[in-house]
Each structure stands twice: as C-alpha cells, then as structure tokens.
C-alpha cells in the first residue's frame, strides 16, 4: 500500500511515552478507494483516530451542465453519475421528467425498465462484492463476481449496444424493444445464476478468513442509519427495513412478490451478504416480470421532439443498488431544466465513514470503505 506521509507530530501518550501521530493520505489514486476518493486518516499506531473523506475529484458539474441542455440531452449525462449502475439514474431522471411533463408510460416499457434495473442490481452488487473481496485479499471472489457481472453486461450489450453507459431508459419509455430471444437469454441467465451465487456465498461469506476480516467491523446502528440518511443495503444491513420498492412502491413493483433482505448486526459482513441475498430477490422479480410482460408500445406514442414541461417542480426516486436515488427537477416552462438536483445515495452513505472507521485499524478502514460501496461518479456528480 503506497501511502504518502503528510506530517508527523510528537505526542505524549497517557503513560508518558513519546508517540508519533501520523496523518496519511489514502488516495485519491489508490486501488482500495474504489475510484478517485481520498481519505485523510489520522493514526495512533495503527488505530484510526480520525478519518476525513475528501471528495470532488470527479466533480464534473453535471447539475450545472443539465441546465444548459434539453431534457432529452440530459439522459446521457445521467449515465455518467453512477457508472456501474447507469440504468438507475436514467430511470430516476426519466421518472422526474415524466412527472413534471405528465407523460404516461406504456406498460411494456415499465416492465422493461424493471427487468433492466433488476439485472443492473445484480451487476452492480457483483461489482460491490467483488471489489470488497479484493480489498480483503480474496481475489477469487473478484473473479467469480466479475464473471457473473460480465454475463449481465453482455445481455445489456445485445439489448442496447452499450456495455456501461446505456442511455436506455428515456422519457416516455425505453430506447428500443428487446431483440429476438433476449428474454430467453435473461431467463437462462437467472436460472444458472443461482448456483453461482450459492457457490460465492459458501466460498466467501462462509470462509473463516473472510468472516474474521468482516464480522464486527464498522458497525452501524439502526438509529444512526436512519438519522444519517443511509439507504439501500447499507441501511438494510443494520436492520432498517426500508426499500422503496416495497415501502414507496413505484412503477409495477407492487405486482411482484419478493422479500426485503435485512441484516441484524450492521457490520461489513452484513453489508456484503445483504447484497448477495438481494441478487436472489432480483432474479425472482425478473422471472415474474418476464412472465407478466405485455406486448404493445415500448415508448409513449406521440411524444414531442422537444419536451417543455409547464413551470413547476418534481421529485421522484427509485431504489438503486446503493439506496434511494432521487432526482429533483425544476422547470420554468422552457426547453431546459431550470435546476436539476440528484439525491445521491452513495454520497449520503459515504458521510458515515468518519463515524464507522473510528477506532478501527487502517486495514479495516479499507474494508469499511469497500462495504459502503461508493461510486465516485455519483458522489461527486
């Protein structure tokens, strides 16, 4: 681990010995920060006494850029927010536009959105878990998870031609219908995925080394999770039963049967395992959605080329792989958003890092950061 030493101050410990306090930079270009994040850590020996996340290295001003583009031109920008889960930001933005402009979405499009977003959840959780595994030295987990993720990405590639920035969900529907035989490929994937997930579960979460490394690390209480605005697997691992798909149902989610996975201890282990178990629930939803999916239009008929919603504001949110992802749009009646704000779940979850890392060792800080699953595209915006 390459750490740049910033300063050293001599301190007197409680028993009168002279000790050194270290201030070290982890990042911004460091494999364990999962992007271009930086944490300034104050260490007493190997124990973290203070951790200050420094963000903004990937700040592109997407909210400002959105004010200068038409409503349709903003969709590709939302791809660049959460770049391991582009479908979510697409969808959250499109929901806000549809609410603002009063666009009705055909039912087939809603089902397609649910299917791609649940597939995206599997891909995104694989990324999060695999990277967590690599942080703790379990590189096998990383390879297994990326194998599964690659299969989802290939499904997306055959659906919309892109592997990472899909630009698939558009205001009023989706950009194109499924190619021939695509739903069969998805069903074949969900059928074979379960065995892989079970293997990963026993390989990593059943492994003594991984358990020793993750259990009891970075414990987040349920009260803190709610008060600090944590959402998604981070909150659910702390036994906060909060999932927008169930508790503020949107789209066609009320029609599906699935469980909300909650953990009980709120440590790094639970945050990882909740993600793995959620993939089973996603598979259930995908299978039900494909069975129920009606025919018809995949995007609303008669959409104007330039959307100019009436003056007003709208907020809509969806449950992304990281938590409640919301988009707040203000319109002044023109062709462009007057103001766009993205309520980013990864941003709110990362704010917990100084609290969680306190009193742990530096190597555990890396585990905690990985378990919060930060994506800096979405945090910095």
């Amino acid at each position: 681990m390459t750490l740049e030493v910033e300063s050293r101050t001599k301190l007197l410990s409680e028993d009168g010995r002279e000790v050194e306090q270290l201030v070290v930079n982890v990042g911004p270009s460091h494999p364990s920060t999962h992007g271009v994040g930086r944490v300034v850590v104050t260490l007493d020996g190997e124990i973290v006494t203070k951790a200050v996340p420094m963000i903004g290295y990937l700040h592109r001003g997407i909210e400002k850029m959105a004010e200068n583009r038409t409503y349709l031109q903003v969709v590709p920008l939302t791809d660049r927010l959460d770049y391991v889960g582009s479908m979510y930001a697409n969808w959250a933005y499109c929901r806000a536009v549809e609410r603002l402009a009063g666009i009705r979405v055909p039912e087939r499009a809603e089902y397609l959105r649910v299917i791609v977003c649940e597939l995206q959840r599997i891909a995104s959780h694989m990324m999060g878990m695999g990277a967590s595994g690599a942080d703790t030295g379990a590189f096998t987990m990383f390879m297994y998870a990326f194998d599964l993720r690659e299969r989802v990405i290939e499904l997306f590639e055959s659906l919309c031609g892109a592997r990472l920035t899909y630009n698939y969900v558009r205001p009023g529907g989706v950009s194109r219908d499924t190619p021939d035989g695509w739903t069969d490929d998805v069903l074949a994937f969900t059928a074979s995925m379960r065995a892989d997930l079970a293997e990963m579960d026993s390989l990593f979460f059943g492994n003594t080394i991984a358990r020793g490394r993750l259990k009891g690390i970075g414990v987040l209480s349920a009260e803190d999770a709610v008060a600090w605005g944590a959402s998604g697997p981070t909150a659910r691992a702390s036994n906060v039963n909060w999932d927008l798909r169930k508790h503020d149902p949107y789209s066609v989610y009320p029609r599906f049967e699935f469980d909300v996975i909650v953990g009980d201890r709120g440590d790094a282990y639970d945050r990882g395992r909740v993600k793995l178990l959620e993939c089973y629930e996603s598979a259930k939803i995908i299978e039900q959605a494909i069975a129920q999916m009606p025919g018809g239009f995949y995007k609303a008929d008669g959409l104007p080329r330039l959307i100019a919603p009436p003056p007003g504001d709208a907020y809509d949110h969806i449950e992304s792989a990281r938590g409640s992802l919301g988009v707040y749009l203000v319109s002044d009646g023109g062709q462009r958003p007057y103001r766009m704000k993205v309520r980013s779940p990864a941003f709110c979850n990362l704010a917990l890092l100084p609290k969680l890392a306190l009193g742990h060792t530096l190597s555990d800080l890396v585990v905690i950061l990985g378990s919060l699953d930060p994506v800096f595209g979405e945090i910095d915006r």
Binding site: G56, E63, V226, A227, L306, R343
Partner: protein, 153 residues
Amino acid sequence: MNTEDLRIRLAELSPVLSPFFSTEFGDAVIGVGRDSLHETARELREIGFDRLGMVTAVDRDEFFVMVYRLQSRALSAALFVKAKVPRDDPRVDSLFDIWPAADWQEREVFDLLGITFDGHPDLRRIMLPDEFDGHPLRKDYDNPNVIRRPDYI
C-alpha cells in the same frame, strides 16, 4: 399516505403547522419563513419524520428557496419543506442537530450555491477546492469557460 390524508393527519398531530400546509403538483409542501425553519423541522421530527432525504436550494434570481425532503416510515409519507432565503443575506439555520444527514448535504449547498448554515459544525466546501471563486449553481455565476448552447427552435 396521499397528500389529503397527510393534511388531515398533520392537523391532528401538529395544529401549529397545518396552516402552512399546501399541495404543489401532487406533493405535500410546508412553506415556512427561514426564521421558523429550525422550529418547524424540530416539530416535524417529533411527529415522526425521521428521515431527511434531500437538502437542496434553487436560485430564483431575487431569492433562494431552500428545499428539504422529509420521509416518515411511521406515517409512510413524504413531505417537502420550503423556505425562502433573501439573496443579499443568504443564511439559514443548520438542521444538523435534528438530522445528522444534513451534514454533507448542507456543505454541498454551501459549496455550490453559497448559502451559509448557522450552527453547522464543519461548514467547508465539499466538491470544489477551497480556493475556488464563486458558487457555480447560482444563476449569475459567470466564467469565460461556460458556454451557453443556442436554442434549438
């Protein structure tokens, strides 16, 4: 809970706040002055709005509008709180002591819109470097690198 149910429930729970209740585009909104914002927030926290979902502000040229989105699991309801902030004195009370979730979100509003939060424990820029000049999400922010796109009609 829809907005009409929420209005009735709010009248029972907090008669003080119910006159400020309104419905805008299907969302429940409580509009308050910035001086009573902190008080209102505390009251709402007590009647069950345990989650501060989003903090942001909108530059309306003559003034700013602070926008807070609250959620309640107990009431299964969501609510906007909006407060006008004058442009020549952009400061408002921090809600950090009620919902710690306000910590980074208020820093973001401070950074990008230049609104000061009184009582915030660590009000620094968060996205932009400390030496950055100006607040980019303000409508009057001017920078030679910002190019306006032409209208398409």
